[in-house]
Every structure is written in structure tokens, then in C-alpha cells.
């Protein structure tokens, strides 16, 4: 028998609230706000309080999907990445880099967001990058 709580950061937005995931025998059974996090000091919003629910949700996207003849089909990462790279290159060549825009996410870390803007500006060659927090 094992019960423990694991300190982590809420993935829902950029605030970075500290939360505790409650784990019983390897199963995620609940979320508590971290009382010692200087960010949220023991409070959470409704999304933070229910973080444990999406982790095991059957609706969670865990594999890449590629659209084939109007249907989304599960595929490998290699196939999905190759396709994305090829199509982005084609679009850039035909319509110029400013025909592409990139939308990144508050659920990523700062470092992941940095990498994506680097890819957008340096590899694709456009300043069209924004963030879901501004939608």
C-alpha cells in the first residue's frame, strides 16, 4: 500500500499554480492546492481542482492523428512529423513564409514555447506566432 502526494505545476494556464496530485497505489485519485506554493498559496480555480480527471480521460489525445480522405487516422510520430514538415515547406515555397501562422499553448513550459518561436522565426521565417492566452 502506498499513498503519497506529488507536487507539480498546474498545466492549464500560465499562472503556474502549485498543486499536489494524490496517488493511491499508483492511481491518481485527487488534486489538492499546494499550501506552500508562493504562487497560489493554497488556492486553485475550478480547472486546477480537476486536473486529475483529464489525465486518465479516454478522450485524451495521446497519439498523432493524420487526416486521410476527410478522416482522422491514428499514425506514428514519424509519419505525422514528416507530413507536417513536407507540407509546411511546400506552402512556404509557394506562398511565402508569412502565409504560415503558429499558435502555441499556455500548457507548455516556457522553454517549449521558446523553441516553437525559434522554429517559427528562424526556420519558417515569419513573425506570425501567438499564444492561446491571447485568443
Amino acid at each position: 500500500m502506498e499513498f503519497k502526494t506529488v507536487l507539480t505545476t498546474c498545466p492549464y494556464c500560465g499562472c503556474g499554480c502549485g498543486l499536489l496530485l494524490e496517488i493511491l497505489d499508483g492511481r491518481l485519485i485527487g488534486t489538492l492546492p499546494s499550501k506552500t506554493s508562493p504562487v497560489n498559496q493554497g488556492r486553485l480555480c475550478v480547472k486546477g481542482w480537476s486536473v486529475h480527471e483529464f489525465v486518465t480521460s479516454p478522450n485524451r489525445l495521446i497519439r498523432p492523428l493524420v487526416r486521410k480522405a476527410d478522416r482522422l487516422v491514428e499514425s506514428s510520430w514519424d509519419e505525422a512529423l514528416d507530413l507536417s514538415a513536407r507540407r509546411l515547406k511546400e506552402i512556404k515555397e509557394r506562398h511565402g513564409p508569412d502565409s504560415i501562422a503558429v499558435l502555441t499553448s499556455a500548457k507548455c513550459t516556457n522553454e517549449e514555447n521558446y523553441l516553437l518561436q525559434k522554429l517559427t522565426r528562424a526556420a519558417i521565417g515569419t513573425n506570425n506566432i501567438d499564444h492561446c492566452a491571447r485568443l
Partner: protein, 264 residues
């Protein structure tokens, strides 16, 4: 750090009297709930004091309910302050926990905390360590009582207007154990509306706390809108005490007014 508590728990674990001790652990400068199964871990035991006395308390009894649902035949020890012990008594009466399977490890609260809580009894009867503090006379309910009825309603409605319906007050409450919650009943409280029905949402919760709220204050500490929830539930407790002569968590045999079925 309490030697007495550590030694008592160590003995219980070594002698195999308990399957685990539900308490708090300090890791990387943070305090969090933890089930101690190995006496060596007790080195990192925390009693819930971080920056101030009692500022890192968690709803341990709520976790205990989950543990005992998964392991009904096991015995656990649990860290309790005065409020938590009151909670245990009510949870036994409501049959959420079995008394013979729970060993309370009692901690008395310092005066600083008892004052902040306006606590009626800042120590458990099963006191193992910490002070046996005095009852603190409350000011907060008295201030609300001093308002006339219209001013009082205006006061509460203005407070409730800030509610963001995070449900944190319910989620953190060690005495909220229902499978279905009235606060999510769409016929009573519209979903997708913020602030939630005012004052219905808050008064529904207040009424549901009759005979259940043991005045631990965790709800108010979890409220991102700084709504004085504890004062509201203290007022409920005052009414229940005056009208029904019932004081939540102070006796083992008496049942709360919501737990009595009279057949006439």
C-alpha cells in the same frame, strides 16, 4: 519537531499496530500529506507549520476516508488537531470511518493559531503533544450579528458576488463526503454562471454544513475570492447550538439534528 509524536508513531509502526500513519511530510521546502509506512521517513515529518503556525494544514480526514474505502480492514493512525478530532467523531457517526480502525495522534494548537481561528477548543482530547490552549471568544460572528437584517443581507450578497465557483470550499472540506453534490444540481443552481446563484449557492452549502462543519477553516483558506466562509459556518453552528442544543463534534453518542429520523 515533536519527539513525542515521532516516537509514538514509530512504536505503532514497528509493533505492527497500524498499516500507516497519515500525516504531513516536508520535502524540498514544501509541506504535503503523506502516508508514513516506514519509520525512517519520520525524519521528514511536518506538523503543518511553514511560515506561520498551522498555515500548511491539509484535510487529512478526507484522505483517510479514501484510504479506508480502499482498505477497510486496515488500521491507520492520523494526525489530528482539535478540529480534526471533532471531525473524526462526526465521520464515525456518519459512518464514513470506523472508530476501531483509527488511532488519533493529537496535537494542540499554539495561541497564535487559536486566535486566528477564533477556536472554541484548540486541542484534541487525545492530546499527545502541544499546548492545551484556552477557548478564544469570537469577534467575527458578533460583528455580523451587530448589523440589522437588511445590512446583513447586503453584506453577505456583496461578499458572495465575488465567488468564481471554483468549488474549492467544497473540495477541500473534510466533512463533504456526498457522492452527489447539490451545488452541481442544475435545477437549483444554473451551470456556467458566475457568480453562482446568489445567495442560493452559499446558503445551500451553509445548510448542508449543519452538524457537519467542525470549524477547521480550510474552506476560507482555499477561497480565492477571500469570502469569509468560516464566519458564515460559525454563524450556522451558533444557530444549531441555540435552537437544537447540538455542538458539532463535541460528543460521541449524540446525533446532529440532520441525522435524526423521528417516526411519529
Amino acid at each position: 519537531m515533536s519527539k513525542k509524536i515521532k516516537e509514538t508513531v514509530r512504536t505503532l509502526l514497528v509493533e505492527g499496530k497500524i498499516r500507516g500513519f497519515l500525516g504531513l511530510i516536508e520535502r524540498d521546502g514544501h509541506v504535503m500529506p503523506h502516508l508514513f509506512g516506514d519509520p525512517q521517513e519520520l525524519e521528514h515529518l511536518s506538523l503543518g507549520d511553514h511560515g506561520r503556525a498551522g498555515d500548511a494544514r491539509y484535510p487529512l480526514n478526507q484522505i483517510l476516508i479514501q484510504l479506508m474505502r480502499a482498505y477497510p480492514e486496515e488500521t491507520f493512525a492520523v494526525l489530528v488537531r482539535g478540529c480534526d478530532e471533532r471531525g473524526l467523531r462526526e465521520l464515525f457517526k456518519w459512518q464514513q470511518l470506523r472508530e476501531e480502525k483509527v488511532i488519533p495522534i493529537g496535537l494542540g494548537c499554539p495561541e497564535e493559531l487559536a486566535r486566528a481561528c477564533e477556536c472554541e477548543k484548540p486541542f484534541p482530547d487525545n492530546l499527545l503533544d502541544g499546548p492545551k490552549g484556552e477557548k478564544v471568544e469570537g469577534q467575527k460572528v458578533a460583528r455580523v450579528n451587530a448589523m440589522d437584517i437588511d445590512a446583513r443581507l447586503r453584506f453577505w450578497k456583496a461578499e458572495f458576488d465575488r465567488c468564481i465557483k471554483c468549488l474549492g470550499c467544497r473540495n477541500i472540506c473534510p466533512m463533504c463526503f456526498c457522492k452527489e453534490c447539490t451545488l452541481e444540481e442544475a435545477n437549483l443552481i444554473d451551470s456556467g454562471e458566475i457568480p453562482p446563484a446568489n445567495p442560493t449557492f452559499h446558503l445551500v452549502r451553509a445548510i448542508h454544513m449543519v452538524g457537519r462543519c467542525i470549524d477547521c477553516g480550510l474552506c476560507e483558506e482555499a477561497c480565492p475570492a477571500d469570502i469569509p466562509l468560516r464566519t458564515l459556518y460559525k454563524k450556522v453552528a451558533e444557530i444549531v447550538s441555540e435552537e437544537f442544543g447540538y455542538k458539532t463534534g463535541y460528543t460521541v453518542d449524540e446525533k446532529s439534528p440532520f441525522n435524526i429520523i423521528e417516526v411519529k
